[in-house]
Symmetry: D2
Subunit: 284 residues, 4 copies
């Protein structure tokens, strides 16, 4: 047992080293005490108030995006999102309009004075895409696509990094560190639900990941209420919970006519629902 | 393919039957539109306001329970909880004081004018236990112990039914139906976190189960913030999220001196933390 | 950091204590090196060969059980299983014939010279049930129903203990310890699949749990291929894998006419499939 | 209810369409009845016999790889694997030698007459890497990195596609379809464990995925026993189960001196263990 004790002392030493290592992560709260605040078109993510990133799942046409942009503008919001490169489970599903979609997004955003968020799925497209976009989104399926993380780290643009479907909080923080380690510290973490046995929702919203991520890192944390729940009827309650627990932002999908949407028809809000959504979440 | 179609028609017929069946569940919102309201010592679970069920993980002594009761009383709360029969993973862990624990609980509750909640783990003890308790709790490990559910269904006491560690929402509703089918409709559902791969919390709080359960059933729904998170530092944010999403009640563990608690030392609040907890959750 | 080191030494001490504690478990391989061998009607579970426990999901009638018994007998097998007390998710599903079912089982078993296995779901029934049964099964939903574990521990009969749906290997071993701690060491552990996100099987068969359980404990370990897969077409491959990895027994459901079975119709074998099953698993 | 029935008929029509769609997948068994057989250096994956892909987790030096190659050669095996581009959770862990690693692998493989398997993590590297490699591996983290799948689809080289950590069987099949839809049908599916709540193994080996994948597709299916278990002591039992259930190949990691390995030290076999591994799996 004296041998055991020495082993344990050795192990303790190793653990101490590990802890020091974690202290050294650039994204860690231990490394930087103050909250990182990220300015997107005047919305300050990390200032203690919730900010909204809304828009259609996929960019389908100029008209579609413009209609949504008008609704967003009217509500006093400053950011629009839309998918141009769509990572889809089947190769035969609609894959998005690609750069044509980004052009539409940029045109509309300029007309309405909005900032644009869109997902990029290939490291090779990153630099060109950055010309169209104010914020680059990295999707759940690419959270451990380290090549894309490194490419994002070389940009000077805010990044929204979504949590992988079965990523631990620790995996998630390390993925953010990949971006930061290449020089780009403008990272917003986005909880979007994890895969569990439960089937009443598309994923299980891991709501307590929000305060944990805010404790462990100095980065803003947002919640994607659309992909976590996959149910239009849960968007408002999920967003309320997210705001109450301290989320810095909410992402939600809006479409002029969800029934004919080319992707994720069942989970996008129409404009009447969007009105109700923003009304009920208004901070008095 | 015409054969296929007929098969599908047959299947559709079966599904219709099943749907009708689900309509018939006594706990279903389809069966009864209005919210069930359960009165526990004047606290109306289901009235739209959050109510609190606090107390030590395990009953250890008269003094310990009395100290907690005083704190609860001073905050204007009306209910105390405490474990007398403790379901523990190992047979060598502290198993609770049993009926002696229930006696302590009852004595203290009477002195302080509080209602008492405690878990019962054996159908045979149910009736005797009901003499000491205002509310019977059925724990997560016993959510599909159908003998205990049936025994609870024969009482005329409110039941707090906790969700099993890997129970689906549908399993959970059916477990409640076991109780109701025996005649007792005074059931409060309690989300307490589900088992997932994530290890930064003890369980993963499935926060959207709250609005789903309230949609599917007419029963009050509460959230156990202690067992879902397993972390004292997450109790306040988790409770805020639970209240924001519409929970009818919050369960949380409080101990005069958590460091010496005989069970779950790391997740119980001390009195200073309890003050802060109630202060921050106060509805203005 | 010297303080840290002392803390770690203290922690190491605690961990050492815990390890010693695990050494002391009665079911642990550290406590008893040799394999426990359990004799059921001449089948020696733990002797290195696979043994079979087959029979209908639920006892429906004397004729049904007798037909299955004849098939079992003809194949040279020595044990029959059948459910008399059926733990069912919904209170409106067939709950089994109860003691009448046990009587049928015993009558048939005596006529055919077979041993009988059946699940008991209430501690109060345990003693009476033991008069009818050669082996008591404790089901997945009751793996942490500690009252039933303790009641099983007071019998002098072999117990088949099924793993809970989301029980860790460590939870499972502790559940067995509950039985052993009350004096009954004749325990066969039964892996029956765990709950995961995957939906192509009813549960996910955790096949490596078999060698882990055999390493950690001295108890025989069997695999329920019916409930783990929930698919008749996977019974043979799953059983082959189980035998290859060292399982001491296989449990599988057989019914004279699965299409009209009162429970689990889709996963039971008919007699032709049962012939094929035993043929393909024959050890040459 | 007549309206309901028509709705269901409509739904049934939709489902039939979906089923037809699934029939059309290039990788589907419905599309092509016969097994696809893939020839790697004379090893025919899909011929009904198990084949072996062994080698170090990461390429560290010429000497290290050559030592392993000699062992592999001596056992009559024909393939070596080694990681040159290592996807690591933390940006500060050893990331592999990159193309220098591929050069070492190719040099050694040529000397020993072995085929080489290595993982590629960037679509941009795919073509260049194909010059060094006989088989391209796509790792679990990149299973839904659709850019890399498409790039792999444009090569004329066998691809080993690993299942994502929380991919369903259906997601996995669709990922293979991405490759096949671009023209490359030489795909070997590799089960490598899925993420669950169980912590006694690194992942949970989903052994029944093997027969399901072989039923649903015409592709060879292998099992990575190293990453699924993460435990050296489980490699032999896991491999036995995989072979028994019909796997076409086994992947396992071997290192001259695991204790000093730059990655995954605890799960690689040393040479003595490798001898024992091959001996025990020898098909008589």
């Amino acid at each position: 047992t004296i041998i055991h004790l020495f082993k344990e002392i050795f192990k303790a030493g190793l653990e101490l080293q590990e802890k020091d290592h974690s202290k050294e992560l650039l994204v860690s709260r231990k490394r930087k005490q103050e909250d990182t605040i990220i300015n997107i078109n005047g919305d300050l993510f990390g200032d203690g108030l919730p900010h909204f990133v809304c828009g259609p799942c996929a960019v389908e046409s100029y008209e579609q995006v413009a209609q949504v942009a008008e609704q967003i503008k009217n509500k006093g919001l400053k950011i629009i999102r839309g998918g141009a490169f769509k990572p889809r489970t089947s190769p035969y599903d609609f894959q998005g309009l690609g750069f044509e979609g980004l052009e539409i997004l940029k045109k509309v955003a300029d007309e309405y004075g909005l900032a644009v968020v869109s997902e990029i799925v290939s490291p090779a497209d990153m630099e060109k895409a950055a010309e169209y976009l104010d914020v680059i989104q990295i999707g759940a399926r690419n959270m451990q696509n380290f090549e894309i993380l490194k490419a994002a780290g070389e940009l000077n643009k805010p990044i929204i990094l979504k949590r992988g479907m079965s990523a631990t909080v620790s995996d998630f923080i390390n993925a953010a560190e990949y971006i930061n380690s290449k020089g780009n510290g403008q990272i917003i973490l986005c909880e979007r639900g994890i895969r569990t046995y439960e089937t009443s929702t598309r994923n299980t919203l891991d709501i307590t990941a929000v305060p944990i991520l805010k404790q462990e890192t100095h980065l803003p944390v947002m919640v994607d209420v659309t992909h976590s729940t996959g149910r239009r009827d849960l968007l408002i309650p999920a967003a309320k919970a997210a705001i109450a627990i301290g989320a810095d932002g909410i992402m939600a999908e809006v479409h002029p006519d969800p029934a004919v949407a080319l992707s994720d028809a069942q989970q996008q809000m129409d404009f009447a629902q969007f009105d109700q959504f923003m009304e009920q979440l208004q901070i008095k």
